[in-house]
């Protein structure tokens, strides 16, 4: 399948500041792609370049094989949901949804019917006559979504649309957006700085950092096989341990803090003596009073225990390396703060990061 949205070497500079540097990305038709990154990483700038509100300093944007770089925003046929929804306050919900159809010359009778149907799809049947200020945050969000979808856009762009909602509502809307996106099959770019949102909604996550793409991969790949330390630390909790490959043939690395560490595999060719970073996720570390047979063990001094009920986070130190361990709530009783205990893991849970 050929790619539908294609960004090639997008660069954006403001004076001497480089906001984006050679960003290239291909998105398939119907794919749900999330741009994830801290603020100022370039994810929103990229979105604004796709929408046409920002002009790239270099590079091209293609949709369906045709370059849209020279088109004005209103000629691009791209639906956008803004963080603050940007509903027109002087129009009722259904008139908001009718707006893009009106701009396309659809008659009022036909367009209003279509707008009502779209409101039903997003679960707002019967709310059409209300004005934006008479709707709750979640309802406004749905109207904004309906408005961005009613004209069958070639792309749907969502700019941190869930940022203003409270936690429960946010989870409901995540599921809702995903459902609507699937049922319409619209190619979607979702921008967020919330990693759990990115994990739960996306077909693919693109991690941005300092104007570059750090990694673009499926959520679980991003989580289990991060290509850079930044990705590993930004997504999920992580223990990043500096180490040296001591014997690539035996798949063993040596760390000052943990001694010899076996790893199962790596995405890159490793050489003896190479400096690497080892990633061990906190939930993959086992905590015990005594060393466990058949595993590499290390000693850790427990500093803090944070209880969450169903699980607990144990923060400690092995040598001069801080370690975080996730344990089940029931298991936390075996240790106390200030005590020394054993940590162990299997080679499968060690991932070697070369960058």
């Amino acid at each position: 399948m050929t790619s539908y949205l294609e960004l090639s070497n997008i660069t954006k500079t403001y004076g001497h500041f480089t906001a984006l540097e050679n960003v290239s990305l291909s998105v398939d038709k119907g794919e749900f792609v999330t741009f994830l990154g801290p603020s100022g990483s370039g994810k929103t700038t990229t979105l604004m370049i796709i929408a046409g509100f920002e002009k790239a300093t270099g590079g091209t944007v293609k949709v369906g094989g045709l370059s849209i770089s020279e088109l004005a925003p209103h000629q691009r046929n791209i639906g956008i949901v803004f963080q603050n929804y940007a509903l027109f306050p002087h129009r009722s919900a259904v008139e908001n949804v009718y707006f893009p159809l009106q701009m396309r010359g659809v008659s009022r009778a036909k367009g209003m019917k279509q707008a009502e149907d779209m409101l039903s799809l997003v679960g707002l049947k019967g709310f059409g006559h209300r004005h934006p200020k008479e709707l709750s945050g979640g309802q406004q969000q749905r109207v904004a979504l309906a408005r961005a979808l009613v004209f069958e856009p070639s792309l749907l762009l969502l700019d941190e649309p869930l940022g203003a909602l409270d936690k429960n509502l946010r989870e409901q809307m995540q599921i809702e957006i995903k459902r609507i996106q699937r049922s319409l099959g619209v190619t979607t770019i979702f921008v967020t700085h919330d990693q759990s949102e990115a994990m739960s909604m996306s077909d693919r996550i693109v991690v941005f950092e300092r104007g570059r793409i750090e990694q673009a991969a499926a959520p679980l790949d991003i989580y289990h096989r991060p290509q850079t330390s930044f990705v590993a630390s930004f997504i999920g909790e992580s223990n990043l341990i500096p180490a040296t490959i001591c014997c690539a043939g035996n798949k063993t690395a040596k760390s000052l803090a943990l001694g010899s560490v076996d790893y199962a595999g790596a995405d890159n060719v490793l050489l003896d003596g190479q400096e690497v970073t080892l990633l061990i996720r906190p939930e993959h570390i086992k905590l015990s009073r005594n060393p466990v047979d058949g595993r590499r063990n290390a000693f850790m001094t427990v500093e803090t225990i944070v209880n969450y009920g169903d699980n607990a986070l144990v923060i400690g130190r092995a040598g001069d390396i801080p370690l975080r361990v996730r344990v089940l709530g029931a298991d936390v009783v075996i240790i106390k703060e200030g005590e020394e205990c054993c940590v162990s893991w299997t080679p499968d849970s060690v991932f070697v990061i070369t960058k």
Binding site: F53, A72, R76, I80, L87, P89, F99, P100, Q102, G138
Partner: protein, 268 residues
């Protein structure tokens, strides 16, 4: 609140409101000059206001000048406000200051300036002269009101409109203009009232040919204290009261129109 404070409050309100209200009985008075309390009542001065050309012509002049001032003011202020609020350019601070200058300079100073300057241009004693001078005084007021509105305007609304297929012109007509409408109405209203009410500049430059209502009233109170002044004050007073009350009545009427009943379906 203790009793003394309450009485003090009532006294202050009475003191401030009395001059507003006192003109009402005086306008129905049959005394030959302004006098309170009136010796008797009749409607004669209302008749003389509505039949005397000496009063009707200044009234017409005032309406004409205020309307033209409003149109000219808005034609200047709308583009200027967009430029000053939305764009950064060299000399913006200076331009901002110049927009507000006429409000800071005392009217009497402006009036003397116009008198000598417009004299050279043969604009003294003309409608055009008064309109230009009043526009200068109305611009800062209209600018202040409109720029406050425009600063609070969410630019994402315009971006949203564009992404939905509206060209820049359509965006302005369908989104920017309707949302700014209250601000535009209020700033034109202020521009109009400013001109209608302005006396100092009018005394200096309106002359007999372009005599405005405030100027005529001022002349009249100095020369004969004609009770028609009380009639005009009363009419203006009620006109303003109606203006203030109209939005409340309008919204009260609107809320009496039954709305479709709430749908039973639940949405988040």
């Amino acid at each position: 609140m203790n009793t003394f404070m309450r009485w003090a409050g009532c006294f202050v309100v009475l003191f401030i409101a009395a001059p507003l209200v006192i003109v009402v009985p005086m306008s129905f008075s049959n005394a030959s000059s302004l006098q309170f309390p009136p010796p008797g009542y009749w409607l004669g001065y209302y008749r003389s206001y509505f039949t005397d050309m000496d009063w009707l012509i200044p009234t017409w002049n005032s309406i004409l000048i205020a309307s033209a001032t409003t149109i000219l003011t808005m034609a200047l202020v709308v583009p200027a406000t967009f430029a000053l609020v939305r764009h950064k350019f060299r000399g913006k601070g200076f331009a901002d200051l110049m927009m507000l200058m006429p409000m800071a300079v005392p009217h009497i100073v402006m009036a003397v300036g116009y008198y000598s300057y417009f004299g050279e241009l043969k604009l003294v004693h003309t409608h055009l002269g008064v309109i230009l001078a009043h526009t200068c005084l109305s611009v800062p007021i209209a600018f202040l009101v409109l720029s406050a509105n425009l600063k609070g305007f969410d630019r994402n609304l315009e971006r949203a409109a564009q992404s939905l297929g509206a060209s820049p012109t359509q965006t302005f007509l369908h989104v920017t203009l309707p949302i700014l409408r209250p601000g535009l109405i209020i700033s034109s209203l202020f521009a109009f009232i400013q001109s209608f009410d302005e006396t100092v500049v009018a005394i200096f430059i309106s002359g007999r040919d372009a005599e405005t209502l405030p100027r005529k009233m001022f002349d009249s109170i100095r020369q004969e204290a004609d009770p028609v002044i009380a009639v005009i004050s009363t009419l203006l007073f009620f006109l303003v009261m109606i203006g203030i009350a109209a939005p409340y009545f309008a919204s009260a009427l609107r809320s009496r129109v039954p709305k479709p009943s709430r749908p039973a379906s639940v949405a988040y």
